[in-house]
């Protein structure tokens, strides 16, 4: 393809703009990493910088020496993410499949039952009272799994629409004639054919569980139950408390109390590392998942 002169200038122009945009997007994350490998004294004297005078791995050494806290929170984050994502996939597909069948009696009612949760919410206070006083989820793994994250109406509608549009009715009819039960159809036809949408929902839901810190903020205060995000959040809170109230520590564990700047940055980097590592391979699923949002359900 031969480009005209104007087209060439346009290409050069937009590429320059986009390279600047790319740098704006990526450099702050690079800064986080540089801070974590900057020598602590350099950090205190010269401040945060992309080009520190002196590097130091003391932060990572410290994390390794105190690996109990960090690894425990890391392990808990992985457990929560795996269990949460699995439950989300099962629950979402189990309700989306019946809702995708046009002849299901009562279908409009169930659709409304799901959809209405997108329009109205009771808010934090009643939910907080219910989860803590009725279900007693404080400081249990359920605190990370149950409130809000398991099912979203948006996901159910996306999956239901996918099932409706990409699984031909003839397939269901053939399976019914062969005597397959609804559950067999769900397992043998719906799930395999719905794989693309399940991958997408699984990715976003996994990201949601990995990154969630609000449930931990509301429902967890014991340091041995901290996920990495909650640990990171707790470290800032303790430093703020210390700044406001010198002398009075909260005593929620040695590492949590007064980690140095580079250690905090190192823990933050360790927390996002898995995302940075897998993202290049999963990028297309994220992009296609977001594009689905452009098509209305």
């Amino acid at each position: 393809m031969v480009l005209s002169k104007g087209e060439k200038a346009y290409q050069v122009g937009i590429n320059i703009v986009l390279i600047i945009v790319t740098l704006v997007m990526i450099l702050p994350i690079v800064l986080l990493f540089m801070c974590s490998i900057t020598d602590e004294n350099t950090l205190i004297n010269n401040g945060y910088s992309f080009f520190p005078e002196k590097f130091g791995l003391t932060a990572y050494q410290y994390i390794w020496q105190n690996r109990g806290t960090v690894l425990r929170s890391y392990g808990l984050t992985i457990v929560v993410t795996v269990i949460g994502t699995a439950c989300t996939l099962i629950l979402t597909s189990l309700i989306a499949y019946p809702l995708s069948l046009r002849n299901l009696p009562g279908r409009p009612f169930f659709n409304f039952y799901v959809f209405f949760t997108m329009l109205f919410s009771g808010g934090l206070v009643p939910a907080y009272i219910m989860w803590t006083n009725t279900f007693h989820i404080k400081n249990t793994i359920f605190a990370y799994l149950l409130p809000n994250l398991l099912l979203s109406a948006y996901n159910i509608i996306l999956v239901r629409t996918f099932f409706m549009t990409s699984i031909p009715d003839a397939l269901y009819e053939a399976a019914r004639i062969d005597g397959a039960s609804y559950f067999t159809i769900y397992w043998k036809i719906v799930l395999p054919m719905g794989k693309p949408i399940m991958v997408t929902i699984g990715l976003f839901s996994g990201l949601g569980f990995w990154n969630d810190w609000t449930n931990g903020l509301y429902y967890v205060n014991r340091s041995e139950m901290f996920t990495t995000q909650v640990l990171l959040n707790r470290m800032i809170q303790d430093i703020q408390a210390l700044a406001n109230n010198p002398g009075g520590g909260s005593g929620s564990g040695a590492l949590v109390n007064l980690p140095t700047v580079s250690i905090r940055m190192a823990i933050a980097f360790v927390a996002i590392l898995p995302i940075l590592v897998v993202y290049p391979f999963l990028q297309k699923y994220f992009a296609s998942g977001i594009a689905l949002g452009a098509v209305k359900g």
Partner: protein
């Protein structure tokens, strides 16, 4: 053809209902019980009597809430930030989508698409660490630069002035990729014949953008903007709580309804104010969604959400 609902006909669907039960129960607990729980805003809540057993107190909680200046500040902040976010993010998202779609080099195109979405994948806690590396009073990069230029340093976490810009920037940094990818998908769906015809007619790039690309994106723009307007009374708790490091000095420019609800909830005796603010947010939010949807249905029915 409407089939009459007989037991024999109904019976075959029972396995399907059973499949739905776990999800229906979860939604009932997670969404519907708290909805009923908004009664707590009209009560003098007492832990021993519980959500439904506590004594009624009428509109006392609301009177108390709206008697303070807090109510005005948090509602103003929530609305103004959302308006700014809608304008900035939609404009940047559309602009980025248009130029990324025009990039010919496939490798670079993929790089741009991946990098604009990267901040979206980080949690607000991590983003607040990154922002802190720039803004920290003692060691922040911006203050280091100011110092090296011989200027006075800024106490970022105590100075209200710059925060609207900081929050708008952080929100755009984190969210623009998501919107841009939706618009990129929209642009990919435009028939290339439009552009070929325009080129034959001698239309330049700018004319192609304003006469073809933008009009074709109108459905997506309407959907996204309306969804955002429906949520104009909600705010991203993480953005307003974590990025200013929960700094009390910044409440005048960073307090939104969501941060207020949380802060009042964890204060002794604050549960009444907190629940009143929450109910106010839910009810007004619900009304706005209904209105914005009715408006779309009037303008172009196929773009309505429901």
């Amino acid at each position: 053809m409407k089939q009459k609902l007989t037991w024999a006909h109904f019976k075959q669907f029972i396995p399907l209902y059973i499949m739905m039960v776990p999800s229906l129960v979860y939604i009932f607990i997670n969404n519907y019980i708290p909805m009923a729980g908004i009664v707590v805003a009209f009560k003098k809540y007492n832990v021993n009597d519980g959500m439904f057993g506590s004594a009624w107190c009428g509109l006392d909680n609301f009177q108390f809430l709206f008697g303070t200046s807090d109510a005005f500040v948090m509602i103003r902040n929530t609305l103004l930030y959302n308006v700014a976010f809608i304008i900035v993010n939609q404009c940047l998202g559309i602009a980025l989508a248009i130029i990324i779609s025009d990039v010919i080099n496939k490798g670079l195109k993929k790089l741009y698409q991946s990098s604009i979405l990267l901040p979206f994948l980080l949690s607000m806690v991590v983003v607040s660490y990154i922002v802190f590396a720039f803004l920290s009073q003692e060691n922040g990069m911006i203050n280091a630069v100011l110092k090296s230029m011989g200027k006075d340093i800024v106490y970022w976490y105590q100075d209200n002035g710059p925060w609207p810009f900081i929050l708008i920037f952080v929100n755009a940094w984190k969210g623009v990729g998501y919107g841009a990818l939706i618009y990129i998908a929209g642009i990919a769906g435009i028939d290339p014949a439009f552009y070929e015809a325009a080129e034959l007619d001698g239309a330049n790039k700018w004319q192609q953008i304003t006469k073809i690309t933008l009009p074709c994106l109108v459905p997506q723009i309407i959907t996204l903007v309306l969804m955002a307007i429906g949520r104009i009374f909600a705010s991203d708790f993480g953005l307003f709580y974590q990025i200013p490091q929960n700094s009390g000095a910044l409440f005048p420019t960073t307090q939104t309804i969501d941060t207020y609800v949380y802060r009042a909830l964890i204060q002794a005796g604050g549960i009444g104010r907190s629940s009143a603010a929450g109910v106010f947010q839910s009810v007004v939010g619900f009304t706005l969604v209904m209105i914005s949807n009715a408006v779309v249905r009037k303008i172009s029915a196929e773009n309505a959400m429901f």
